[in-house]
């Protein structure tokens, strides 16, 4: 298990290097000049700026400087905001995105597992139909539409009651987080519900459930100990990639709900062609995702004994 974890961590590091390289060369192909915004810069200033940022060096040298800085955790200084390190920006905005993402994943996972199990148990009956219609909606309606609609619903709800029950936008208290997290997690929840339903259907019809029932295990115990625990495995495997899609997909929700997260900041940086911020955020996100997937895979070993025994 330990060796397996070590191996996965090493692979993860190589993957992060690949992400950093891809980001670097993609950014180098971006047309435009980072030092030429609106104001004309004189030749001398320009040369000074270029040497300060190392832009007068050949590409390979720039690449190695970039890698060396990355390995010490230095993402550089923002090109558009004075005296702001990319590290500061990440430190300030990432926690917001992370909290939103974690809440969304929690919503998605608990909702998906619960609803999926319910639909399998009530197969072809009313709860199954209702939940599956909601699932189809969750899969086919884009999250920005759901976000806008939920804002409209909140406005009329708040109007109806007379006070603000749930804020429509912004960030700060737990109340601000609920709606955006729900909206963000909805697509994944729908996906997980489908997955859980099909794996639960397989489990419900299997022999060991019949055995458990025939030897008199009470139904709630079968449900939690035998059915859920076995059916949950495929859901856990996709949880890693789900975290990835939720955290990187968060910027749409952040935009609609005016949440000061890293995703919204990234979009803003792209619009302003803030090279270091774009590169830093991308590499940071990439590394975060890679290690989340590894974490989930390693945890998977604890849930499924077969994985542990194989290694």
């Amino acid at each position: 298990m330990f060796l397996y974890t070590l191996k996965r961590l090493f692979q993860g590091l190589v993957t992060v290097w690949f992400i950093a390289t891809a980001t670097f060369f993609a950014m180098h192909n971006v047309p435009g000049d980072p030092l030429l915004n609106d104001r004309a810069v004189s030749e001398a200033i320009r040369a000074n700026l270029e040497s300060k940022y190392g832009l007068d060096q050949p590409l390979s040298t720039q690449y190695f400087i970039y890698l060396r800085n990355l390995s010490t955790g230095d993402f550089g200084i923002s090109f558009t905001q004075e005296n702001r390190e990319v590290n500061d920006i990440i430190r300030e905005h990432f926690p917001v995105s992370a909290i939103l993402g974690i809440l969304a994943v929690v919503f998605a996972a608990t909702g998906g597992i619960l609803f999926g199990a319910l639909t399998a148990i009530y197969r072809n009956r009313l709860p199954d139909f209702i939940i599956m219609i909601l699932v189809i909606l969750g899969i086919s309606v884009p999250s920005f539409v759901i976000a806008a609609m939920s804002q409209l619903a909140l406005v009329s709800l708040n109007d109806l009651v007379g006070t603000t029950i749930l804020p429509v936008a912004g960030w700060g208290t737990i109340l601000h987080m609920l709606t955006p997290a729900l909206v963000l997690g909805l697509g994944t929840m729908a996906y997980l519900t489908r997955l859980m339903r099909s794996s639960m259907l397989e489990v419900v019809g299997s022999d060991y459930i019949r055995t458990a029932r025939s030897k008199g295990v009470p139904a709630p115990r079968i449900f939690t100990k035998h059915q859920i625990r076995n059916a949950i495995l495929p859901v856990v495997t996709v949880l890693g990639p789900s975290i990835a899609s939720i955290t990187t997909g968060g910027f749409v929700v952040e935009l609609v709900f005016a949440i000061p997260g890293l995703g919204r900041y990234f979009v803003q940086a792209v619009q302003q062609l803030d090279y270091t911020v774009i590169m830093g955020t991308t590499v940071f996100y990439g590394a975060f995702l890679v290690f989340m997937v590894i974490l989930v895979d390693v945890l998977y070993g604890f849930i499924d004994p077969r994985v542990r025994l194989e290694k």
Binding site: T15, F18, I19, A22, T23, A26, M27, N29, V30, P31, G32, I136, L137, I139, S140, V141, P142, F144, V145, A148, Q151, L152, A244, S245, T248, G249, F251, V252, L255, V256, F266, V267, V270, Q271, L273, I278, T281, T282, Y285, G286, L289, V290, V293
Partner: protein
Amino acid sequence: MSVLTPADFERIQYHQKTQNISRPSLSYWSDAWIRLKGNKRTLFSLYLIVGLLAFTILGPVFWNVDPAFQDLDQVSQAPGTSRLAIIVNDYEAWNGESDISIDALRLVDRATTMAVRLKWDTLPNASGYRVYRNIFPVGPEQAYGIPLVEYFDNTVLFFEDRLDLKPRRYYYSVVPMDDRGNLLDGYQSIAVDPIRVTTLDEARSKGLLTNESTLQAGDSINLSLHPLGTDYLGRDMLARLMEGARVSLFIGIGAPSLFILFGIFYGSVAGFIGGRVDQILMRFADFVVALPFLLFMILFKIAFGIGPGESGIFPMLVALVVLMWPATARLVRGQILQIREHGYIGASQLLGAKTNYLIFRHMLPNTLGVVLVTITFAIPSAIFIEAFLSFVGMGVAPPTPSWGSMSNEGIKNMLTSPHELILPAILISVTVLAFNLLGDGLRDALDARLRNQE
């Protein structure tokens, strides 16, 4: 042991019937088609997709309206067919004169989309006035709306609004100010419903009237028809939805076809050659999978760069292909690895089949079912991604409409004209839903394990 005579080698009559073909044999594809037809949801989704394609391709033939044309008489017009406008005389300047007695905020003349004329009486303590317009009544939180004018003179008691008037209800408020421009209590408010008007000259210049027409001021006239309304720039929604469908479906169908072709090639090479090459190729695919998807979509899109006047469809297509091929490659490789071990491949090799023959005759056709299912699921996700990116302003550049960019524009006017958001959103959802249902049905129909279960 007796001696064998030639008679012993005579063929004996064989009576037993070996096989009885009771029904015509079915090929894999005809069997799949029969089961596809039996699935109501799949059939429904097929009709939906055919309808969408007809809407996209044939739509512009029947509704031949320029999607970029701005009908400024009907900005943010809700869907519907009532397009009556009253013809009025040309606009004449107004200097605040009126015949009616003014005791409070009053409307002078008839309120039209050409002008709304207001007069009011002196308000207590006012040394000036500010006039506001809102689309909601002024509530207890005193939301007056947008300020239209400010008079630092308490003798000016009239105002004429000609700013972007639409045939809907407005709430005008006059708020008194003190001499430093601070608002005082005691505002007056009035609800106004302007009627849609046009002048003869305007109607003529827009081709709504012929020169011989005998219509007079006071008669009514039909403005040009927009069955699904117009957007915030007065562009016809139906025409834009058709144009946007072309962009969305082009990306949605084009990108998956391309990256699946590449994925098949990559995966079959890796699977067939195997060994070290396979390991290296698949390792690289793993790297590409690890890239944070949406961020890299944006990165690649700006890296390819779009010049002025370009729509950015092509960069988006390339970015999608570059990032989405590994899933197909993995799938095809897995299939090829499985098929390679099957007995019929060995048999074919024994009969002298060449590598090319093996790949094109046996291996690829057998992966086709899985690939078809992947395509149908890749189409909705590509449409989703296009909509996402266009929504955050990183996708198709305006003025080219796509459903995503139309939703992006619509969300800004969500409260006042919801149809601008709802119509493209419905189209995105229906398309994604149709392709998802089709994918489900195809998967069930093509799954060989399910084939003999009935």
